[in-house]
């Protein structure tokens, strides 16, 4: 983690220096801050329900160079201060109880105020160089290979954070080489860093727009290390997005286990639609043939989302994810109000029911963007 902080510091120092006359130079800084305050209601079937204070404050900063003619340096990091029960989501070792979420990625603990940790999360830090024939990007970045909003079996490099109400994605440490063929077609080559690591994966995506549809073909070789539960595999897939009365998109993905020569299939089909510029709907269905693919989903899964725009500054929305095999549900209902320019309030109810338990989070967020 220290090496990232050093790179970040050097990058900011270099980029803010040497402004060119008459040309936009230096760094631009954008970001956001929000505070969530809520009540976590844990439902127990055999004992009394629990209600605990839960919340967090998050400061997010996104510096990048202003003049991007020849390249780009971008960083995005979060400083997180979780409160109450939310602490156990971010720092599971504080609480060894079964409901502590062990699946969350590691965050760097900067320091603690008593039991309250202050965490650092480096979401992006990359350098792009724009050459006449290719764009080369190195570092932590988000790779969007797929078309799905929540279910995207082809997106093996950047997973969706399901418990984030905005469904943000996590970055991967990779080198990406984009070679364009035309304005609407090209090839994207990806290699995970470090290159010589046993778990290094490589991927290629060819994309093009044909007949007003976006198409892409993807091939990925996942070289899992010896300690991993999964064997080496080759992933290949096709994606599309276009319009046929409703907006439709999909992904068809094959997984081929190199040692056992097993082949399995994952497929996602999605649709979006709007009515009278007020109602917006998204639905996705994910089918997964075998358990051994590295996705968390069961055999049949659905995602549905509806949003009603009251006016340009107010809307209400709800979304649900249901896994038929595990009979698990994750749902969010939100009321959004843009109270002032760049200031939002969101009142939300998030609920989850799975084998591990059932909880409801009643929460309110105030967010400022700058």
């Amino acid at each position: 983690m220290n090496k990232y902080l050093i790179i970040l510091t050097i990058t900011i120092l270099l980029s803010t220096a040497a402004p060119h006359a008459g040309q936009q130079s230096g760094m631009t800084f954008n970001g956001s801050m929000y505070t969530d305050l809520g009540l976590l209601h844990t439902v127990h079937s055999s004992s009394k329900d629990e209600a605990d204070f839960a919340g967090m404050s998050l400061f997010s900063l996104n510096p990048k160079n202003a003049n991007r003619t020849f390249g780009k340096v971008e960083c995005l990091f979060d400083v997180i201060v979780p409160y109450g029960r939310t602490i156990t989501r971010y720092v599971p070792e504080i609480d060894d109880s079964s409901d502590a979420d062990q699946s969350l990625p590691d965050y760097y603990k900067i320091f603690s105020f008593g039991k309250t940790p202050v965490l650092f999360d480096l979401r992006k830090l990359y350098l792009s160089v724009y050459l006449p024939f290719a764009d080369i990007t190195m570092g932590r970045q988000i790779v969007n290979f797929g078309k799905g909003f929540v279910f995207s079996p082809i997106d093996v490099f950047s997973s969706v954070e399901l418990y984030d109400i905005n469904f943000r994605r996590r970055g991967s440490d990779i080198v990406d080489i984009l070679v364009p063929f035309s304005a609407m077609a090209g090839i994207d080559l990806i290699c995970e860093m470090p290159f010589l690591d046993e778990s290094c994966s490589v991927a290629a995506k060819i994309y093009a727009t044909l007949f007003d549809f976006d198409f892409s073909a993807v091939g990925i070789f996942r070289n899992n290390d010896k300690e991993s539960d999964f064997e080496n595999e080759t992933v290949f897939g096709l994606t599309f997005k276009g319009d046929a009365a409703v907006g439709i998109y999909g992904e068809a993905v094959g997984h081929y286990i190199n040692e056992s020569k097993d082949l399995s299939f994952e497929g996602m089909l999605g649709a979006d639609y709007s009515i009278k510029d007020r109602w917006y709907f998204i639905c996705e269905y994910l089918y997964k043939q075998h358990d051994w693919t590295q996705s968390i989903w069961g055999e049949h899964n659905i995602f549905g989302s509806a949003r009603f725009r009251i006016n340009d500054i107010t809307n209400i929305s709800a979304s649900i994810i249901y896994d038929f095999e595990k009979e698990s549900t994750l749902g969010i209902a939100q009321f959004y109000y843009n109270i002032l320019q760049n200031v939002n309030t969101i009142i939300y109810l998030q609920g989850s029911e799975a084998a591990g338990g059932k909880y409801l989070l009643y929460s309110a967020r105030v967010e400022v963007k700058f």
Binding site: V143, R168, G242, I248
Partner: protein, 247 residues
């Protein structure tokens, strides 16, 4: 004598111009002269009004008029910073910088308000070839805000149009459409666009401030203002690509 000749010339030319602009098609052709440019770049300010609230979005835009229209719009206000739109002919993509995600906006979603405004993606995508899609008739002449206007009515002759009927008030001197009403097939008024300010830029009369009212939305309007408008600036065509969208 010199003055008399000048007056005669003025009378003749104005009467020729008036006689020439007898049909709706002719008026539309004259309107197109104002829009006859190879490239345009500007800095835009989009003010969205909801009752007494106003939300301002800043953007910069570059467009290229060729066999197909190409445009790149980038939002610069804090809330939407780095969000980009790429238009290549009838295709439209949005780039969301936080998620490094490029999303294609498909058919029905084009009817949505662009970034929450009263201007739909479909409005922004529309090409200038109205005569290919609409039957144009000159209805009458009337005054609008003390300016003499031709009133032309456009009725769709193809199915693939965002509005079945359109009514335009075109300034008889500058041939700028000062007002436009857009109707559904049922005859319901959907949108009203009013030009609030025109400016002469590079020999053209160009609307630089337009108000759009979506009648389906209550207490809502969008005012779009263009600043630093430059025509026919040399542009790198590579900018209008999926590659550049991600930069």
């Amino acid at each position: 004598m010199k003055m008399d000749l000048y007056l005669l010339f003025m009378v003749l030319t104005s009467s020729i111009a008036k006689n020439f602009a007898q049909t709706g098609e002719d008026i539309l052709t004259k309107m197109d002269i104002n829009r006859d440019y190879k490239t345009i770049s500007y800095v835009g300010v989009m003010s969205i009004y909801v009752k007494d609230n106003v939300r301002v979005k800043n953007l910069k835009s570059e467009a290229l008029n060729g066999a197909e229209t190409k445009a790149l719009v980038e939002f610069t206000n804090p809330e939407d910073e780095g969000t980009r739109f790429l238009m290549l002919g009838k295709n439209l993509w949005i780039y969301f910088p936080a998620e490094e995600d490029v999303v294609k906006i498909s058919g029905h979603m084009l009817k949505e308000g662009m970034m929450g405004s009263d201007v739909s993606y479909e409005d922004a995508l529309e090409s200038d070839a109205l005569s290919e899609k609409y039957t144009i008739t000159l209805s009458n002449e009337e005054k609008l805000n003390d300016r003499q206007c031709y009133v032309i009515v456009l009725e769709a002759k193809v199915k693939d149009v965002p509005y079945f009927k359109r009514k335009m008030w075109v300034d008889t001197k500058t041939f700028v459409a000062l007002k436009e009403e857009m109707y559904a097939k049922s005859g319901k008024l959907l949108k009203v666009a009013n030009v609030l300010e025109t400016r002469e830029i590079g020999g053209r009369n160009f609307p630089v401030k337009v108000e759009m009212v979506n009648t389906l939305r209550k207490d809502s309007k969008t005012v779009f203002e263009m600043k630093d408008v430059v025509f026919d600036k040399q542009m790198d065509e590579e900018k209008f690509s999926m590659r550049y969208l991600r930069r």
